[in-house]
Symmetry: C2
């Protein structure tokens, strides 16, 4: 069974940074980190006691695993540059199928960390879910052993499911963050501090995961409180875009509540 | 200066429960807790070493403060039943103006805790923002002193601002929770565990408040990644309502990003 001890990394962005540091902390050797951007490669390499390089050919020699952690758009270009090699290779993307990696090697897979990363924000990697896929059971086992060093949360997710997961993540991360930013902007325009609603944002998230968001829904839409909904829409008249968002989400909450009631009734009748 | 040592509470719902327990823990005496529902009144009273009652007339005698913590709809009815009294009285609602309380007494105000409460979920009350308003500086000072016993986060917010705050809270709490529930349902339909995205939900919230949601926006919409957006819309075709939500939020994120760029340009030219 192949054991992964030496890993080269392509990319020095947010995901690459957190992954590289977690690998280093787990005792993995990272001989080279490649980035098109010398400075980014340097910064991350210093943190991981690696060599930085802007010469991609250095990446593919004498190594157990190559991790390609670049934007989806850059992935094809990187693979093109890499040409052919032998080592196991993975990408870290939520939405790109695994098979794209087959152009490089006969041993390939995916190592997708499902989290929102920023270079300058620490997090506990042990809590990050790692989604694994590989083209053979041997490669999958090698990735599993590696992942086990990094996190307590390992999932085996194929390319099809990973795409669904990535879409769910948009609803769980990108869209809520956008709504926070509307709240922030709306407060600012009304000369109220964003600090005021920070505890609410955090508790809403914690409560939803502790119980279940479908059971913790509250608010004027859920209560179908038309008086408050109308007064809110009035207040949002000046903010056209926000009013549209408010209207649709309110309508969706009411519609889905009705739909659920209907389903529950149908199920009871059965 | 009036000092508040004895408080009666009308209501035994989520807000009343957390507030009553926090008051009790702060050494405040709560002679009576009223609820239309005897069982709810009993449960909360036991926790606060109070007497429970379904007779509202017991509430208004020999007391420093009456807290009315009922639903917005029930508030007028409660005030009607209360008639006239002397003690300071407050409600705890985000969207009801303070003046409604004037029917009861010449001393009135609002004590609005900006948080999402559930009876069966503990939280640290010291971290809950309390928004205060009163009809006189003396009453406000009395409320401030009381609030100081309960929390480290006291804000003076008038009825107009409180309404704005309440609307912001819908964007910061109710709507994100709804999006979590879409993610939950979508994962369930695709036989993926909700556990997978729990760390993402929590980190998204923490990151947004630590940095600023306007600076932490990521995702296909923000990158204007049309390829992924289209593939997501394709996947959502079976879920009509979710597709609509995805489409509008994606459009809003793109529109607001363009708007922001335009504003930044205009500001630079000035």
């Amino acid at each position: 069974m192949r054991e992964i001890r030496k890993i080269n990394i392509i990319g020095a962005g947010n995901v690459a940074t957190h992954l590289a540091i977690a690998l280093k902390n787990a005792g993995i050797e990272i001989p080279f980190i490649y980035s098109r951007n010398q400075e980014s490669a340097d910064i991350l390499s210093r943190k991981c006691r690696s060599n930085s390089t802007t010469d991609i050919s250095k990446i593919i020699t004498d190594i157990d695993l190559v991790i390609v952690s670049v934007s989806d758009d850059a992935l094809a270009e990187v693979l093109d540059k890499l040409g052919k090699g032998n080592s196991l290779i993975v990408h870290t993307s939520g939405s790109v199928p695994m098979d794209i990696m087959s152009s490089y090697s006969e041993n390939y897979g995916v190592l997708y960390p499902l989290q929102t990363f920023s270079k300058d924000r620490d997090l506990i990697f042990k809590e990050v879910p790692l989604c694994l896929e590989a083209n053979s059971s041997e490669n999958l086992e090698a990735l599993r052993k590696l992942a086990y060093l990094l996190t307590d949360h390992i999932y085996f997710i194929d390319s099809f499911q990973r795409k669904e997961l990535h879409l769910a993540a948009v609803f769980a991360c990108n869209f809520p963050n956008f709504l926070y930013s509307i709240a922030e902007d709306f407060l600012k325009k009304n000369e109220l501090p964003f600090d005021l609603i920070k505890p609410l944002i955090v508790e809403t998230a914690h409560k939803a995961i502790a119980i279940s968001p479908s059971k913790t829904q509250t608010g004027p839409a859920f209560r179908e409180d038309k008086k408050i909904i109308n007064s809110h829409l009035q207040m949002l008249m000046k903010h056209e875009n926000y009013g549209e968002v408010y209207k649709l989400l309110t309508k969706s909450i009411i519609d889905l509540k009705k739909q659920k009631k209907l389903n529950d009734k149908t199920n009871t009748k059965k």
